[in-house]
Amino acid sequence: MAWQKDIPAASDTKNDSQSAMQGNFQAIDTGFNIDHEALNAAVGTLGKHKKLTFPQQGAAPATLAEEFAIYCREDDFTPAAAALFLREESSGTEHNFTTCNLSATDGWARLPCGLLFKWATIAAPGSGTPIVFLVDAAIPVFAATPFMAHVSVVHSATATCAYANLSTTAITPYYSAATSIAYFVVGK
């Protein structure tokens, strides 16, 4: 029997109350035992979680001051897919920490704290030529100038390497020789 939150009613007969209460306990048993240790588990285990299952929600939940929330909702990319978010207090910033691009070119990933990594190994574009971070409907943009970057030359042992003009959209490598360039940028 489905959950009834307002039983027993004052006018219920004994038979009505019995079936209503039995139905509610059955519903509690079914519902609570999803993700939780069983209600008849020993004290010490009772009430703890076996796992957390996050079905997709239609919208981000609100958070009050001094609260975090973790939840699944459709991400903001195209095509959209289910993703896990961590939301900061007071309905603050949401950080999608499962959507990513794990690849050698235009890779990116985000940590639950919001830190955004972008990386790639690409053909050297020419010293002083900016490398523009790929941004499209499926790749996030740095919201502010990245905090740091590292650039390495590949296969050029005598090369010196540096970077300049790090911005939300690009980084400019300078090097004495290189066939390939690897970069790793950390921002948010």
């Binding site: 038979n15 019995q18 209460m21 039995q22 306990f25 059955q26 509690i28 048993d29 609570f32 939780h36 240790e37 209600l39 008849n40 588990a41 285990t45 009772l46 009430g47 703890k48 979680h49 076996k50 796992k51 957390l52 299952t53 996050f54 079905p55 997709q56 009050l64 609260e67 699944c72 289910a82 896990l84 920490f97 499962t98 990513c100 794990l102 690849s103 050698a104 890779g107 990933a109 985000r110 940590l111 639950p112 990594f117 990386w119 790639a120 190994t121 590292h150 650039v151 390495s152 030359v153 590949v154 296969h155 050029s156 042992a157 005598t158 090369a159 010196t160 690897a182 970069y183 790793f184």
Partner: protein, 201 residues
């Protein structure tokens, strides 16, 4: 009294029902109040989580489409330890995002911080290290640390390499990066100190 999922029954006498009902409310009070805000909390707080205590499970959690799961299961390493996994929708890939090099027994792996790894919840695997090599001619083959407590790259995407003490006036590069390691080539001489950070999965 322990939880009973199927009470009260039609034939139950009042004194039996009273004890059963009280037992169930007591079990609910204990069970719900673990990890959750108290059942007598104010609306707005009631029903929220205080914490999530994840007990060890024998098997991976199953996920339906449009669902993620987080659970506690023994790691794939030796010695196996409890760890947390995040599993993608549709019974997708499960990534252990807790195990890391700092868990290595220091007596077995004294350089664990210098040969580290960590994995993000999305699956990105970071491996880093610091080495000093000497005695080679034109290059040194470097293997990423792999042992019973360290995962193997199934793919490696990029790597940063920086020359470091005691050879900070030199330059160096790398080549032949793959899932097992790379070759570092110093500009001159036969010794080089360097650190690296490799990204893969």
């Amino acid at each position: 009294m322990a939880w009973q999922s199927n009470i009260p029954l039609p034939k139950d006498k009042r004194n039996i029902s009273q004890a059963d009902l009280q037992g169930n409310f007591q079990a609910l009070d204990i069970g719900f109040n673990i990890d959750h805000q108290s059942l007598d909390a104010a609306v707005g707080t009631l029903g929220k989580h205080k914490a999530t205590t994840l007990t060890l499970q024998a098997d991976a959690a199953s996920t339906a489409a449009l669902q993620f799961a987080i659970y506690n299961k023994k790691s794939e390493f030796t010695p196996s330890r409890i760890t947390l996994y995040l599993r993608a929708p549709g019974d997708g890939t499960a990534y252990d995002f807790i195990s890391n090099s700092f868990n290595d027994p220091p007596e077995l792996y004294p350089l664990r911080e210098q040969n580290g790894f960590s994995r993000l919840p999305c699956g990105l695997l970071l491996k880093w290290g610091w080495r000093v090599r000497s005695g080679g001619a034109t290059g040194y083959d470097i293997k990423f640390k792999v042992n019973d407590t360290t995962p193997v790259f199934s793919a490696v995407y990029t790597m940063m390499l920086t020359v470091s003490s005691p050879h900070n006036t030199k330059t160096a590069s790398y080549k032949d990066l793959d899932t097992e390691g790379f070759t570092v080539t110093p500009d001159s001489g036969n010794s080089i100190g360097f650190s690296f950070l490799a990204l893969g999965v």
